[in-house]
Each structure stands twice: as C-alpha cells, then as structure tokens.
Symmetry: C2
Subunit: 152 residues, 2 copies
C-alpha cells in the first residue's frame, strides 16, 4: 500500500535516539513504506550465555516495529500508539541476525483511524514472525496496540 | 522455602556477565533464596520517548527472574531452563524503578524436577507482577519455561 518510501537511516536513528534499548541492541530499520516495515537485529551484542539471541532482545525486535509502522502509516500529529500486551512464543534458537516484517492493509489502517476518531482510541493487533538468515521462524508474536487520538 | 541465602551481588554480576541486556539495563538481584528471588530495574537508562520504562525493558525484567530462580532453586549440574514463551500485559505507565518477585513452592520444584528426571524435560510456568515504588502493578506476565535434564 506504499505511496511514500521512508528514509530508513533516519527512522533507525530516530528510534535509537528515543529508546536507549534500540541503541543498545543496534536494531535497524531496513525497509519502510506506508503500511509495511522490516527491521533487523544483529546477533552480535544481543546474545546470552549459550550464544543465541536472548529472549529479551527477540522481544524488543518484535515490539519495535509497532512504533516504526505507526510512524510510516498513521498521522503522527493526530494519533499516538500504546502497547497493551504481547504474546511471544520462542520456536527455535536464534543463532544469526534476526529480521521481522510488520504490515497493515489500507483497509485496516482506515478502520483503526476511523474508530480512534469516533471513540478517541481503537485497538489493533500485529501478528509477527521473527526469522533468521536461513528463513527459519525463531519466534512468533501477537502484539496488542491501542491507537489513541491526541487531546481526546 | 529458603534453606540458603544467596549472594545477591554475585548473582547480579553473573547475570550481567552472561547476558549483555542485563548489563545494559542494569537489572539487579536484590533478594535471592531457594524458591524465591526479587529483581529490580532502574528507570534511568530504560525509558522511551515519553519518559516511562520501555516495554522491552519491562519484558526483560519479567524474564530475567526465570534464570535467577532456576540458579537458586534447581541443581544446575543436572538441569537447564529454556523459555518457551511469555504473555505480558502492560497495565499502567512505569515511571519509577520497577521490581518483580518470582517464587516456586518446594512441592512445585520437586514435581518439576521429578518430571524432568523421568521424561528429560518438564514444563512449568511463573506468574509475575511488576510493581513500581508505590506498589502499583505496572505489568503482569505468564512465563512458560521448560526444565531440561542435561545429557538426555
């Protein structure tokens, strides 16, 4: 549903500037357009005692796209997002850099924005799969967000 | 169910040495005994763009006790833990240092160890509440772990 391509370097920098954990984990926005973003986290620096990516780093990688997708998709002057909860399942050890894609259709975006306009807030979910460089799914998550309208 | 008090400084150091995110977030083990641990994370350095603790930091605080409680409670020469999944709900903004307590009864520990001895692995859950310095619950989580017996 793209009509704008975003500057991924700028998005990466702004994410890292606003959330210290984004800088610490060196998460990177590698693709960004309206309705769709792809982020990647290096295994380097995000491990655990057995040399795989730590569950907390995987969680952060699963949650960061919520903010990025909001930025590229919704009117940031009118709305802001809140994360209400996340269910994450760890499927296999993550031994490489890990990527995640998040997307919403134009219909979903319009429905959520309309509901937020009417009620001041609207819930929406993102279903994500975290994959390693071989394409294996290492974790899946369901992220529950709430879009809120400023000043309501 | 304590019969041993652990050196919390040593537990803090070993956690931070084995998982970079523990060092980055400056999580601290403040109480530790067999069957019960308490961890705390400073708001300083773990915020987001609106000055509250970032969801990923709260998740890490919810997950770290799994390893700490394992260390103080199970025979680390015979078993190791795997985190299978976590459901976390964010209840209110976390604007102070945040603490979490995790515990298991002696009966739960015995049952999980016995099952791991028999089957090589055994699932167990921890239900946690993250609280701010005023005692408000800012997040709750259900962590799904699997105890695995070495060499089976």
């Amino acid at each position: 549903m793209s009509d704008t391509t975003w500057d991924v370097e700028h998005l990466t920098e702004s994410t890292r500037a606003s959330v210290p954990m984004a800088a610490q984990t060196q998460v990177e926005v590698i693709e960004a357009e309206r309705g769709r973003v792809v982020l990647r986290m290096p295994i380097e620096g995000n491990g655990n005692h057995i040399g795989t990516m730590y569950a907390g780093a995987l969680f952060a990688l699963a949650e960061f796209p919520g903010g990025t997708l909001f930025s590229t998709t919704f009117d940031v002057s009118r709305y802001y997002p809140i994360v209400k909860g996340v269910e994450i399942q760890f499927r296999r050890f993550a031994a490489t850099d890990i990527s995640v894609e998040a997307s919403m259709t134009e219909e979903q975006v319009a429905a959520v924005a309309a509901a937020a306009d009417e009620h001041g807030k609207a819930n929406y979910d993102l279903e994500l799969a975290l994959t390693d460089t071989d394409g294996n799914v290492v974790a899946i998550s369901t992220n529950h967000y709430q879009l809120r309208a400023h000043g309501i």
